[in-house]
């Protein structure tokens, strides 16, 4: 990965269309690299027809993606999967420069429909199941098992919002001070603050083969491991308080990277659809023992989600790829927050109803 860029992630971009957000991210990711659009061999993109309100929406956005007369494919999943596609394509020797793009404008649609319409339409959808109640069912069981109460989850959410305020890429002036946001049950036992906040935005990553990468930047971020795994569809049949698919995804990525544990990484960026979801991911990938991830948040863990993570800024189809942007920017020393001395990172992304699908990518810079 030789560069990355994103638009500001905002609850609403009322004056801009999808194509405007996409082309801004693409213009920015090329800037300063010496790579021109004509040098790009292929584009892999992530977005959602259901969020965009049109079928095969990639088809209408090819120009904004700089994909005219190039190899292009749409991966209808979080952009982290698009990144793994692109990385495979370069590793395969089929191409040397690729553009990975992910975007969403959830402000243009009704987000609860986007999630609920993923459910098979015969037994789960008609009963009124939505993404919040599904997260809450996990929440009730997880809290009971971990010996926590809902207030304890504020260790996760307040930290996330605090960090997001200092993240220039997230449109958030201050930590919300609305009491209901933190305390009122939306779907018991979870509150508004426990659910990821949908935002609009686009992100782009520029991938290059080693020979090209070395010409572009002194500090390319190398992808060292990739893994993904999906759980079964029926929420009722999944594990009650853990995410074994995230474990399987992390295992594959760590095996490929030749590392033993997620704890070996200097920096970790996770995507949680809810506070409880984020805790379960941290445990699933091996950052904490089962039911003890809250300690990572109680004892400030600087290496975990320094961006604030997905809770204050969930770009839905792009959240995992935003985590890559955050992690790779830090590794390459491209952030304003300066060089934190990290040389390796692990990034997690999720997709599907109530975090059915998981992807883990590891990366490093030469130290």
């Amino acid at each position: 990965m030789v560069n990355s860029a994103q638009t500001v992630l905002s609850p609403s971009w009322p004056d801009r269309q999808h194509i405007d957000l996409i082309s801004e991210a693409v213009v920015r990711v090329l800037k300063g690299t010496g790579i021109r659009i004509d040098d790009v061999d292929f584009v892999i993109d992530s977005g959602s027809d259901f969020l965009d309100g049109r079928s095969i929406s990639n088809c209408g956005f090819l120009g904004a993606m700089g994909a005219h007369h190039k190899e292009e494919s749409r991966v209808e999943e979080d952009g982290l999967w698009a990144l793994t596609y692109g990385a495979n394509k370069i590793a395969a020797g089929s191409a040397s420069v690729g553009l990975i793009i992910a975007y969403s404008k959830p402000s243009e649609s009704i987000v609860s429909n986007f999630w609920a319409d993923m459910l098979e339409p015969f037994t789960q959808r008609p009963i009124g199941l939505d993404h919040e109640s599904a997260a809450a069912l996990y929440g009730q069981r997880y809290l009971a098992r971990a010996g926590l109460v809902a207030d304890d989850l504020q260790a996760v959410s307040r930290r996330a919002y605090r960090l997001a305020v200092s993240n220039a890429g997230v449109d958030l002036d201050a930590v919300p001070d609305d009491e209901a946001f933190w305390s009122e049950e939306v779907s018991s036992p979870l509150r508004r603050a426990d659910f990821a906040r949908p935002v609009d935005g686009a992100v782009a990553i520029l991938l290059a083969s080693p020979d090209v990468a070395d010409q572009i930047t002194a500090r390319p971020v190398w992808i060292t491991g990739m893994g993904s795994a999906i759980d079964q569809h029926f929420i009722a049949a999944r594990e009650p308080d853990s995410l074994p698919a995230a474990t399987a995804a992390a295992k594959s990525a760590l095996r490929m990277a030749g590392t033993d544990s997620a704890k070996d990484y200097d920096l970790v960026e996770l995507s949680g659809a809810s506070t409880v979801g984020e805790l379960m991911v941290a445990e699933a990938i091996g950052l904490a023992e089962p039911y003890s991830a809250i300690e990572l948040y109680r004892n400030e863990t600087a290496s975990l989600n320094p961006s604030g993570g997905a809770l204050p800024a969930d770009v839905i189809m792009a959240t995992g790829l935003v985590r890559v942007h955050e992690a790779s920017s830090r590794l390459a020393g491209r952030t304003d927050s300066g060089d934190i001395g990290a040389s390796s990172a692990l990034v997690h992304g999720t997709g599907g109803f109530s975090m059915q699908n998981h992807c883990v990518v590891t990366m490093e810079v030469a130290s």
Binding site: D15, D20, A237
Partner: protein, 314 residues
């Protein structure tokens, strides 16, 4: 005028003009498959069916186990009673995971009829059947409520006299959107609405005029920073004569579907050529024919402000 300040050229006449509301209402006829089809069909008979997959018994019955992918080896009839494993309450009501007696996987459904605070993990519940079953919905089982006097029994393998599976279920999906105009469509359609003025944006590299206007050229990916006026006359690039009728159609067939390149633009606009006989259209409204916009009395700020295009008779 340039497009560098995108916020200034946004459609700003009124707050609600930033968005175009759109609704997709799509009717479907969905097939649930064998197991779910039988499961739903049997709810009107107040029978709850599970499927057997090796050691697993799943309610509602499934064709395949999500845990193993194993197909159902048969059905079991289970007592419509069980125990709550988890629940959540929101503004719409309460949903709970109910482990039906004798099964291995909980059933997610509504929990109804509980006093606030009376529901706990482990609470025993019984089926509440709909008073007006439809014969084609999981909601023929309204949910689970307090157990009362309901008894239980062991799952009965291979129950007799099962209903035929439901073959199709009518379903309508409604999706609401509010599409942002953005600066480019905003400016274009403001001009169309108020002055019948059509403008594209000119690519700084290839100098072609994009209509609809875009921030970057779809071909060159170079900035398209200049506005350019486009005429309301043009040339048909491609055309066909529409005879089919379909849901949501705007005009009664036959009529001419045309892709038109307006004078001064380099891209196509999709519209209708009106006032031409279907047979004559094959030659008169053929590719290469010249057309002119016929503006409507409506001022909506959309392509619909052009009623149709008419042939310019040479």
């Amino acid at each position: 005028m340039t497009l560098t300040d995108t916020t200034e050229v946004a459609r700003s006449s009124a707050e609600n003009m930033h968005y175009m509301p759109a609704q997709l209402t799509i009717p479907y006829t969905l097939t649930p498959g064998q197991a779910t089809g039988i499961f739903i069909a049997e709810l009107v008979n107040k029978r709850l069916l599970g499927s057997r997959h090796g050691d697993e018994i799943i309610v509602p019955a499934q064709d395949f186990s999500g845990s193993t992918g194993e197909p159902a080896s048969g059905f079991v009839e289970v007592a419509p009673v069980g125990e709550v494993q988890a629940f959540t309450t929101n503004a719409k009501g309460t949903l709970g995971l109910v482990l039906i007696d004798g099964t291995t996987t909980p059933f997610l459904h509504k929990l109804v009829g509980f006093e606030p605070g009376s529901l706990e993990i482990g609470t025993r519940v019984a089926a509440i059947w709909s008073e007006s079953p439809t014969g084609n919905s999981v909601l023929d089982l309204a949910g689970f409520g307090p157990i009362g006097e309901a008894g239980t029994f062991e799952p009965k393998s291979d129950p007799e006299g099962l209903a035929e599976p439901i073959e199709q279920i009518d379903y309508t999906m409604t999706l609401d959107f509010k599409h942002a105009y953005g600066a480019y469509y905003g400016t274009l359609f403001d001009g169309v609405e108020t002055g019948r003025r059509i403008r594209g944006s000119k690519c700084s590299k290839c100098r072609r005029v994009l209509l609809p206007p875009r921030a970057v050229c779809d071909s060159c990916f170079a900035p398209a920073t200049e506005w350019a006026d486009v005429a309301d006359t043009g040339t048909i690039q491609a055309s066909s004569v529409v005879h089919i009728e379909f849901l949501g159609q705007r005009k009664q067939p036959p009529y001419v579907y045309a892709e038109i390149v307006l004078d001064g633009a380099s891209t196509r606009l999709i519209h209708i050529v009106g006032d031409v006989d279907a047979e004559r259209a094959k030659t008169a409204a053929a590719p290469g024919a010249r057309v002119r916009a016929v503006w409507s009395d409506q001022h909506t700020g959309s392509l619909g402000d052009i009623e149709h295009f008419e042939l310019i008779e040479e």
